[in-house]
């Protein structure tokens, strides 16, 4: 069995968390006990050296899982070594038990697509992806988990399905799955497939983390905007996931059009309720606050 599989089982329970956004920082710090962990977008810390100082501050409050958007594991061609060094620095700083990304393509030679684009699921791309995932896991020294993405169009006549691709990839590499529940819902609505069947065909025993978000309708298409209340359809699929998988954590993604924090925390609690988790459930991994922030945390508690 690939080495990373045993690492998946060693991943501690994380709970119900939220995507960390600067707009939410103040309230999240104030209400940090209501949030089990946070997810950051790794790439947001790449260009601004000052952002790293903020990241260290967040480390003082939460266990962080870094989530990247630029690895482009499905692309032909070599890995971007400079980018890989960068994500390792973030992964090490946050002491995250795994790193997460997407099963997609975001670049080609000379082109940054700027968004997650779908793959054409072929044997060649599978082989290439397996090789890349193995390289990434070896370099990071921890498991990689890959997310299912939304797509506005399918590239037709693919030799294999997405679920077959996922199954063969996780079997060959021992990597995990970040199951984006909302993406399953959105794709099932936009492309007319049965989400139950999709879940039955996915390697649910390798699901490590979940995503939940809310989108909006535009011209008959559901858009994955991360800007609205989570649709009922996503919650229904989450209930099915709860019966089929044993994930370690769930993250609410909300990127703009922010409601009051209490609304977001209510969604975190709803996810806990559906998945059978409690806030007080014992965690096997304790967030390690840098020594210099602990006096700051104490003074904030006193002031509050």
């Amino acid at each position: 069995m690939p080495e990373a599989t045993s690492s998946l089982s060693e991943i501690p329970f994380l709970g119900s968390g939220i995507g960390f956004r600067r707009e939410l920082k103040k309230r999240l710090f104030e209400l940090h006990e209501e949030v089990d962990f946070v997810e950051i977008i790794t790439d947001q810390y790449r260009e601004d050296p000052r952002a790293m100082e903020e990241l260290e501050e967040v480390c003082g409050y939460f266990q962080i899982i870094p989530h990247g958007v630029s690895l482009s594991v499905g692309s032909a061609g070599p890995l971007d070594r400079e980018y890989l060094r960068f994500i390792k620095s973030i992964s090490d700083l946050t002491k995250a038990p795994y790193y997460s990304e997407h099963l997609c393509m975001t670049r080609a030679p000379g082109i940054d697509i700027g968004h997650l684009s779908p793959l054409w699921f072929t044997e060649d791309i599978l082989r290439n992806t397996i090789d890349k995932v193995n390289q990434i896991q070896d370099y990071l020294g921890k498991p990689l988990i890959l997310e299912n993405v939304t797509y506005s169009f399918e590239i037709p006549n693919a030799p294999m399905s997405q679920t077959e691709f996922f199954n063969r990839m996780v079997d060959a590499t021992g990597c995990g799955v970040l199951l984006d529940v909302t993406n399953v819902y959105i794709n099932s609505v936009n492309h007319g497939f049965d989400p139950d069947k999709f879940l039955d065909e996915m390697p649910m025993d390798r699901v490590v983390q979940l995503h939940l978000a809310g989108g909006y309708w535009s011209n008959g298409f559901l858009i994955d905007s991360h800007s609205e209340v989570i649709q009922d359809g996503s919650w229904e699929i989450l209930e099915k996931v709860a019966a089929k998988a044993n994930p370690k954590g769930s993250i609410l993604e909300h990127d703009r059009n922010f409601p009051e924090i209490e609304e977001l925390l209510a969604s975190l609690q709803k996810a806990r309720d559906i998945l059978g988790w409690t806030k007080r459930q014992e965690r096997s991994y304790e967030a390690q606050a840098p020594q210099e922030t602990k006096p700051i945390l104490a003074s904030i508690a006193q002031a509050g």
Partner: protein, 278 residues
């Protein structure tokens, strides 16, 4: 299968308007530029054209705020014209995996300076305004600039004797000084009052953009001609004593030492210059 060719073709369809239009009009002409198998050609040709176009448009729209926000005054003046120029830049400047957004923003600003200078849909000062917004953004966000003002020398507290001698004034890293043909500071002040002026004073105007605390902020100062001249001499290679002599000579005045030292102190306090030892 030639997956690299297929993926290169797909990526280009997503980000290259002209190539996508060629594909929409004549798929064979577009796909012939890539070495594809019959199965790959058939797969790409089978993509829903409407959704493909919507996806491509969404990618362009997704990047737009990163260029619109730094040039918000220009977009406020004429959003349609600026959107046209953004579209053009997006297609001329293929964004690659190693491009840094700050550098792209600076390139876009320089592109706008050239393009807007002759755009009849915009006020005469539009090119200068592009330069103004570019320099302001640079002072705020340049990742290669120095830290914030915490380490500024207290100019008022330093005696004249300590400032003279072997101290070399130099522009602080991150500070931008721009020369403008139009009074853009006046345009900004008018826009802050809710007005969009058709024209503004024309002449020679100098403005300093200074990174400030908290991070990602900047202060903007109009510079008098004399102050600008003084700053141009603060190159880090001339001691203050020489700068005093040169400026006195240029201005034809013999008793400017205290005024110049006072100006240097003010510029120190404002974080525009710093003193180095060589």
């Amino acid at each position: 299968m030639s997956i690299p060719e297929m993926q290169a073709c797909l990526a280009r369809l997503y980000v290259d308007d002209a190539f996508l239009r060629l594909f929409e009009v004549s798929g064979d002409s577009a796909l012939s530029q890539y070495r594809l198998t019959e199965a790959e050609r058939s797969a790409i040709s089978g993509i829903d054209r409407v959704q493909l176009r919507l996806f491509a448009d969404s990618l362009k729209a997704k990047r737009k705020p990163r260029f619109e926000i730094p040039f918000s005054m220009l977009f406020k003046i004429n959003k349609a014209a600026l959107s046209r120029h953004y579209d053009r830049f997006y297609n001329l400047r293929r964004i690659g995996p190693h491009d840094i957004q700050f550098d792209l923003t600076m390139e876009f600003g320089k592109f706008l300076e050239e393009a807007l200078a002759a755009d009849e849909d915009l006020p005469c000062y539009a090119g200068d305004l592009a330069k103004y917004e570019r320099l302001y953004h640079s002072a705020r966000f340049n990742p290669r600039a120095a830290g914030p003002l915490a380490d500024v020398v207290d100019g008022d507290g330093a005696p004249a004797e300590a400032l003279l001698g072997e101290m070399y004034p130099v522009l602080r890293p991150g500070v931008e000084v721009g020369e403008f043909e139009y009074d853009i500071r006046g345009v900004q002040e008018a826009m802050e009052r809710g007005e969009i002026p058709d024209r503004t004073d024309r002449g020679k105007f100098h403005v300093a953009f200074v990174p400030s605390v908290p991070p990602r902020r900047a202060k903007v100062f109009r510079l008098t001609p004399a102050t600008h001249q003084l700053l141009s001499l603060c190159d880090g290679r001339s001691p203050l004593s020489e700068i005093v002599d040169e400026l006195q000579g240029t201005l034809g005045e013999s008793d400017l030492r205290e005024s110049i030292i006072g100006a240097i102190r003010r510029l120190l306090n404002l974080g525009v210059v710093e003193l180095s030892h060589s």
